[in-house]
């Protein structure tokens, strides 16, 4: 685990007094105890889920939180007795294709908004922010009717196709990142005779890698976690269900097998946590970019 956080600034100057020294040591202990206590509260839900997923189905129904016997084979069984492999495949198809398409369509638009001067660019940026901020439920019914008329509800298409046409949040995040790239680099490329597209591909893309990584991660995580979209468009056809939708209805179909439900839940969150540890830096940078600096 790498610590990205810079060492916190020293806030106090040390008084020479011995009583003060003891007080400061007590404060040190108090602060770290609070941090440890909160830390325990934060990991408890996940640890509890993992323990539950390793019990027999009988024990999982009791109030025990420590398995009498350990059953890691639950993680194999959940693949055999439930449609989990199917949900997993659908989720991967949705998340991967949507992420790739969104980046392909959003990067050029973000570049134009950040670095090209054109009439109406401010207005367009305001529209992008409005699209990003407004609740998706506002346009749910007309969009659903559109896809139903096209005969595509009950499949993953209504979730993937819009990615071809960019995503407001991605455009916003990438634009904020591209603004931090000095325009001198672009001017130099233009003087050397690069067209705008070549400037983007040869000069901007390599420099924008961290921003693109952050935008891609956010889109991937959004799709992986998405519940409303799959509920709306795929619920009529169980073959198109994703993990989120499957998990939420899992409980009713396999409601006695809490150990399997929790095993599936753990499997749904594991990939995200693994990805996070590999891409922590890009992630944190992305979050800080979206919350603006004061």
């Amino acid at each position: 685990m790498t610590a990205v956080l810079a060492a916190p600034p020293a806030l106090e100057t040390a008084p020479p007094d011995r009583r003060f020294k003891r007080q400061r040591r007590l404060a040190w202990i108090a602060r770290h105890s609070i941090a440890i206590a909160i830390g325990i509260m934060f990991v408890t839900p996940v640890v509890y889920l993992v323990l539950l997923s390793l019990m027999t189905s009988d024990q999982a129904l009791t109030s025990d939180y420590w398995p009498n016997t350990w059953h890691p084979e639950n993680y194999v069984r959940v693949f055999e007795v439930t449609p989990l492999p199917h949900y997993l495949l659908n989720t991967v198809i949705y998340a991967v294709s949507s992420t790739v398409l969104v980046l392909l369509s959003s990067v050029p638009a973000a570049y134009a908004l950040a670095k090209l001067k054109f009439r109406g660019s401010n207005a367009l940026f305001l529209v992008v922010i409005c699209v990003m901020m407004l609740p998706p439920q506002v346009v749910t019914v007309p969009l659903y009717l559109m896809w139903a008329n096209a005969g595509l509800t009950g499949s993953l298409w209504p979730l993937i196709v819009p990615a071809l046409f960019g995503d407001a949040f991605c455009v916003f995040l990438l634009r904020q990142f591209l603004l931090t790239i000095p325009s001198e680099y672009l001017d130099a490329a233009r003087v050397d005779g690069c067209g705008e597209w070549r400037t983007l591909l040869r000069v901007v893309l390599p420099m924008a890698r961290p921003g693109i990584a952050a935008a891609g991660l956010f889109q991937f995580f959004y799709c992986w976690n998405d519940y409303y979209g799959p509920l709306l468009y795929t619920s009529e056809n169980e073959n198109a269900w994703t993990l989120s939708l499957g998990l939420a209805s899992f409980h009713s179909v396999h409601h006695v097998d809490w150990n399997l439900v929790t095993a599936a839940t753990v499997l749904a969150m594991a990939p995200l946590i693994v990805i996070f540890f590999f891409a922590q830096r890009a992630f944190v940078q992305g979050i800080t970019l979206t919350g603006f600096k004061g």
């Binding site: 100057t13 941090a35 367009l124 705008e196 209805s249 009713s252």
Partner: protein, 312 residues
């Protein structure tokens, strides 16, 4: 400045357009067109099988005496008034704590952040199990220290507070934003205040708080908008706590469990549209949501120039 020749301008315009084309089409097809349709549909009456029939303001009149709508507005307002400030206070508190730690700040930051990564559906399932009145470890623990735990997700009074706990657990994103803001406060200010004899609370009140005020505004506005669309956790918690979930299959009879206490505005919109197929009325509800969300968004854009990308 002399005007550039027409040919150059056209070519430049075409290049710019080629960068923007996909997003422009996307905004038109997946936002502006459905938004216009929603306005039109809100004056009509139809279901999935019939054609829209013009009924004027009937749908909006219907909103005035719809007891479920009133209940869902009340629940959503409750969430806005409680969840948003609680999350902001929690995020400020955690980021202040992190800046005070001499050892392991990076470790604790990662630890506090991780729950934000857990898919909302998975997190909700975890919390329903954790808070289960009979078998959950939380009430078990409370019993050990002599407190009789509430029924949490199974009690109309405690279901929304349980959702707030869930929201607090997944506070990581907000915490990272506040942490960046708190670390951005120049340490020379703190040193000067310390020399003047200011204690920790005074330093927080008079230095940290004013500096991070724009971030608080940003967090409050985006928090309100996020809470207006609160759907996943409420839907899943209601279905799973009721013990007879049928969330898949598109329609849930367990939305709002128990006794409608988790029935938020988007849940009612979804139910009206996709369970009762009252599509005209559902669009009227959508326009109501649009007006409120737009007002909040415009407020943010006016107040926070930095957010719209201009230098402040």
């Amino acid at each position: 400045m002399t005007a550039k020749p027409l040919g150059v301008r056209v070519r430049k315009g075409a290049t710019t357009l080629s960068f923007l084309a996909p997003v422009l089409i996307g905004i038109a097809v997946f936002f502006l067109y459905p938004l216009g349709s929603a306005v039109y549909f809100s004056f009509t009456k139809f279901d999935l099988l019939s054609v829209p029939e013009w009924v004027g303001l009937d749908n909006y009149r219907r909103m005035a005496d719809d007891p479920f709508l009133l209940q869902s507005i009340r629940n959503t307002l409750w969430m806005v008034v409680v969840l948003v400030p609680v999350r902001i206070l929690g995020a400020i508190g955690l980021s202040m704590l992190l800046t005070q730690l001499r050892r392991g700040a990076g470790f604790f930051r990662t630890l506090f952040y991780l729950p934000a990564l857990v898919p909302p559906v998975a997190a909700t399932i975890a919390f329903v199990y954790l808070l289960k009145p009979g078998t959950g470890p939380v009430n078990h623990f409370l019993e050990m220290i002599g407190i009789e735990g509430p029924l949490w997700f199974n009690s109309p009074a405690w279901a929304k507070p349980s959702l707030v706990l869930l929201g607090l657990w997944a506070i990581g994103d907000l915490m990272v934003i506040f942490l960046a803001a708190v670390l951005g406060v120049p340490s020379s200010l703190y040193e000067a205040a310390s020399l003047d004899g200011a204690n920790a609370w005074q330093r927080f009140r008079s230095i940290t708080l004013p500096t991070i005020r724009p971030v608080i505004l940003f967090a409050a506005v985006t928090g309100v908008i996020y809470t207006l669309q609160y759907f996943d956790q409420a839907a899943v918690a209601g279905s799973i706590a009721s013990g007879q979930a049928t969330v898949g299959g598109g329609i849930s009879s367990n939305f709002g469990f128990p006794e409608g206490s988790t029935f938020t505005y988007p849940l009612w919109l979804y139910t009206v549209g996709f369970r009762y197929s009252a599509l005209g009325y559902a669009n009227a509800l959508a326009i109501g949501l649009f007006v409120v969300a737009l007002a909040v968004t415009l407020f943010l854009l006016r107040r926070a120039k930095a957010f719209s990308g201009e230098e402040s």
